[in-house]
Symmetry: C2
Subunit: 422 residues, 2 copies
């Protein structure tokens, strides 16, 4: 009988199974993932339900309702893609863009490049609006590119963490509709921290992630889809053999080149039809639902204000240390700040000391910015006054030890002043 117990320890094997999960308690002030809200962690410790249990489908429906609030939309089709944030991006693009169709991408950072790269792989004809890193596109530039390239789909990143810039999107949806273009925006890095105003922007499809301002873990990608986009996607509808019934018609459009990311199938799984597709990632659904509950309880405006205050305080503190911020003030993301590494210090040594001495993580950078800037976040559960102050205090101490001497006490004083004003 005793041999039947799953997980019964056997001394002789202990050495080969490593220790239990017991990560250091670290303050994650990089561009994400960040510390998860404890309520979200607790939600994930609940046990499974059957895939089609009424309680499970009830949780799925509630999650849809909650993410309508998160995405500021009335879109019926508001659900989760089971994978990390780039799973949502690929699902959106592979379902929206038919092979051979033209896709216009705003390339203003690493994640704009990612949109083009995914588009290329799925057989789209890529056109780009190239913007120097650290800047954003104007509405006029976007319109000119649409007129010049006549794309079927327009795609942009809201907040590109590689540059810490937020692309303004007011008017973009209307512009796209006027030109008969479907529009897609990835808001992974801003969802939950800045207004992701799906309906006000008039954008057709928006995707996100949990691991930044939503205060959840990576591994689930919320998505919202307008009726117009859903109709386009349903034209490419295909029903899996083995569950096909007489009442299920196929669409006339080109077969979507992925089963896992086929949003037509995923919508039918989340619809009242409950057509079997994948097995919903139950724990991640629990996490996504709880992260949204925390956000809706807090109130969207209060939450955005909290992120704005944290970003402003962090920026003020960094500047008070005599450091130079990267990019344009007018387009700065509120939740992550790029800052030039001073010439006299080694950026990686500073990061290592921040981690080693203070258990605080700040971010490095990609591509052309690698070695030039740090990216310091204050996202989700970490967009709080004391965490901003702790981070600035630690950075001050580390820079001082590494030979860059900021004005004594200035960083925290400047950050405090921002909070006292707000």
């Amino acid at each position: 009988m005793s041999g039947e117990r799953p997980g019964l320890g056997r001394g002789k094997r202990r050495a080969r199974v490593f220790g239990q999960i017991d990560p250091p308690h670290r303050l994650l002030m990089g561009p994400g993932p960040v510390n998860v809200h404890p309520r979200v962690l607790r939600a994930m410790s609940a046990d499974m339900l059957g895939q089609f249990d009424p309680e499970m489908t009830g949780y799925m429906n509630e999650t849809m309702a909650l993410y309508r609030r998160v995405f500021m939309t009335e879109n019926r089709w508001t659900l989760l893609v089971d994978g990390t944030a780039r799973a949502g991006i690929e699902a959106a693009l592979v379902s929206l863009v038919e092979p051979g169709a033209r896709l216009l991408v705003v390339q203003a950072g690493r994640f704009g490049l990612l949109l083009s790269e995914i588009g290329q792989r799925i057989g789209a004809e890529i056109r780009t609006l190239d913007i120097p890193w650290g800047e954003v596109a104007t509405l006029e530039q976007i319109e000119a590119a649409i007129v010049a390239h006549r794309p079927q789909v327009f795609a942009a990143i809201h907040g590109d963490t590689s540059t810490t810039m937020a692309q303004p999107l007011d008017g973009v949806g209307a512009l796209c509709r006027r030109h008969g273009v479907l529009s897609y925006v990835d808001a992974t890095a801003t969802l939950g921290g800045m207004a992701v105003a799906t309906d006000a922007w008039g954008v057709d499809v928006v995707t996100g992630g949990l691991q930044k301002c939503m205060g959840g873990p990576p591994g689930s990608s919320p998505i919202t889809i307008s009726d117009r986009a859903a109709a386009h996607i349903m034209k490419r509808r295909h029903v899996e053999a083995g569950i096909r019934g007489a009442d299920l018609d196929e669409g006339p459009g080109a077969l979507i080149r992925s089963n896992y990311f086929d949003l037509a199938m995923i919508m039918e799984y989340w619809s009242e039809k409950r057509l079997n597709h994948h097995t919903e990632a139950t724990s991640m659904l629990y996490a996504a639902r709880e992260a949204a509950r925390v956000m809706v309880e807090e109130g969207l405006e209060a939450r955005f204000a909290r992120h704005r205050a944290a970003g402003a305080a962090m920026s003020a503190g960094l500047r008070a240390m005599g450091l130079t911020l990267y990019g344009q003030d007018a387009c700065r993301m509120t939740n992550v700040t790029g800052v030039y590494i001073p010439d006299c210090v080694d950026g990686e040594r500073v990061r290592a000391r921040m981690r080693g001495e203070f258990e605080i993580e700040i971010g490095t950078a990609f591509g052309p910015l690698a070695g030039k800037i740090w990216r310091i976040g204050a996202m989700g559960y970490n967009a709080m006054r004391h965490k901003v102050l702790i981070t600035l205090g630690a950075l001050d101490a580390v820079l001082r030890a590494e030979g860059y001497v900021p004005p004594a006490g200035a960083a925290i004083e400047a950050a405090r002043a921002v909070y006292d004003r707000s």
Copy 2:
């Protein structure tokens, strides 16, 4: 200050945010997902680490080592795909099979059909070895199909839960190598419950999931890749713009038609190079690692024996009730049993009563078997004597109330007898 607290409840909004996650405590004896081992649930409640923190990459390396044990392989490339089980399937196929290449699929159930459907979407030329549901392919049939179709890649399902049959795979890898064919097997439903003998089979790529015999939640797909298959995939290597460096060469093969499922990129992320791709789904990694630790501590042989005993006891109990099992005895999966619904009862009413009165879930069926059989599982943390006995006792009581009267006490007695013998 008080407005800064994330998640601070506001009475007026409460009605619109639903209650906290609090699922009924249900015994899941279907084909999965099943109840998760409490240690795995606890592991998931740990907070995040930065993506490239030494502790995080340490956990990733340990997870690789643990899954080598789980997959019974020496394969260096043994890692996780971030998504549900079919994410692993799609990653394997889209990375192995070039557009236009021939893919031979054993179709003996719903998940065989899924392999063909994914193959079709990625542009493969599909050839099938069609086996009636409830049967399996012989090695001779597989060889004949390989000779007839000369595929580049062979694909099969180990345990197809739609039919509850397990495809024997001894000799399949050697056969494929002899004919210069790459081989792929999905073992989602058997991994952790039956021997998934990757190296002994000689199969190149094997994928799995956590939500069945691994005793974890759905949402992560372990995969193992032979050096031969990795070399094939690396020929299709492509480095993402924005992180491309001078030392990173591209391969000559056809571009993999997915970024998310590009195993060349995923391998480089899990390698010492740590080339940035997705952000690893941290909580699901914790879950996968703990599920594997539980398995390795228990011992593989003990664990397989535990599943064998549970399956045998369940089968004996069902037969003792006068019910007829579905499929061939010789090829039965040890962890899920198909059983014909007796003519005189309504299968869905029985399932509803099992859930309503006893909080026990048993499975329905797909496609041609819908309404004809139930699928009753005993997987992972649920492959235990008392859970088998409880399920049989409940089913006996429900059938009796629904007008099918089994011999009194026979089911539990027969199951007990199996355990007493084992």
